[in-house]
């Protein structure tokens, strides 16, 4: 028994964990600051095409998104590509209204820097994309970005 007691006396000192909450808090704050919550729930499937000549979109607050793709609930909505603005499916004539509203939400000084990011499923036919582009032109949202993943384009 005495041998055990001896060991206990010489055992390694326990690590001081009082600063653990601080460390965790630091990590927490980092993630809280960098987090961007998803604003919309996607109702369309998005499999973005790949491209090599991609540029980064900076200033996320100045980007408005238009999603085009086949609906997730294909039994309910069919398989034809649809446009999604914010949280709902939209028709082609609602785009101008959408652009106007996006513009309204931004600061006056920032308005001319708004980029419209088109997130389009690769299998979508260009017809609907062309229509959207025409509407964007009419609405005066001329800066657009075809959202793509970085990678080898198919050849």
């Amino acid at each position: 028994m005495s041998r055990f007691k001896m060991k206990k006396g010489k055992g390694s000192a326990s690590i001081n964990t009082s600063s653990l909450p601080d460390i965790i808090f630091m990590l927490l704050f980092f993630f809280m600051v960098t987090t961007v919550m998803r604003e919309v729930s996607l109702k369309v499937k998005l499999k973005l095409p790949q491209a090599t000549e991609v540029q980064k979109l900076d200033k996320k607050s100045l980007v408005s998104y238009i999603y085009i793709g086949p609906p997730v609930k294909s039994k309910l909505y069919g398989t034809n590509s649809r446009i999604q603005l914010n949280d709902t499916f939209a028709n082609i004539d609602e785009i101008q209204e959408f652009v106007a509203k996006e513009r309204e939400d931004r600061d006056e000084a920032d308005r001319k820097f708004i980029t419209t990011s088109l997130k389009v499923h690769g299998m979508t036919k260009m017809g609907i994309v062309t229509d959207v582009k025409q509407e964007l032109r009419k609405a005066g949202a001329l800066k657009i970005n075809y959202s793509t993943r970085k990678g080898r384009a198919k050849n």
């Binding site: 909450p21 927490l28 960098t34 491209a51 540029q55 260009m126 017809g127 025409q134 657009i144």
Partner: protein, 192 residues
């Protein structure tokens, strides 16, 4: 009257609470950066504007049909050829009537005069073209212009375009090689 000292709050569970929050934010965080090909749309045209006539030799027509096949300047082509053709088209060919005209222009940022090709690459697609093909073609054209910028930058500064840091040099290269891609007004060719 002995005032009772406020009992100390046990802070031992603080770490657990912080952990819980941390894990929540870890899970909800999306670190993805948005990437894509940036383009500028032309402003809308009024109905009564006359068409600007561009000489035929100054245009490289690229058509994509509803079966994702390419027609480059009247000849069926493959996507792998497009980049070479585009670079060749935009290059300066002195005294060759089959290539676009060129005009000398003084580039302020570079402080030298350069021959600027007047060529325009005109891209036209069908309503039935797949978006993937369209992006592939846009990407090839973008990479053609990128390569030309690289080449000029290499010649002038001995650095690739992406490695340039000086804003002035970047702007100079950009104005020496503008991205001249025009997208035609949509038309329904070949049906669905």
């Amino acid at each position: 009257m002995a005032r009772k000292a406020a009992p100390e709050i046990n802070a031992g569970s603080m770490a657990d609470i912080a952990f819980l929050l941390l894990i929540f934010f870890l899970v909800t965080t999306t670190m993805d950066v948005d990437t894509g090909i940036t383009r500028k749309l032309p402003p809308p045209v009024e109905d009564n504007v006359e068409d600007i006539i561009v000489k035929d030799r100054n245009i490289l027509k690229v058509l994509i049909n509803s079966h994702d096949r390419l027609l480059i300047d009247g000849k069926p082509g493959d996507i792998s050829m497009l980049k070479r053709i585009a670079i060749d088209f935009m290059a300066i060919h002195p005294n060759d009537a089959s290539y676009p005209e060129y005009k000398p222009k003084f580039i302020e940022e570079l402080g030298l005069e350069m021959d600027m090709s007047q060529g325009i690459i005109s891209l036209k697609n069908d309503r039935g073209t797949s978006y993937e093909m369209y992006i592939t073609v846009q990407n090839e054209l973008a990479s053609a212009f990128h390569e030309m910028k690289d080449e000029l930058s290499m010649r002038l500064f001995g650095l690739k375009y992406d490695q340039l840091i000086d804003e002035n040099k970047i702007n100079g290269i950009n104005s020496a090689i503008p991205v001249r891609i025009s997208e035609a007004e949509p038309e329904d060719i070949g049906g669905k």
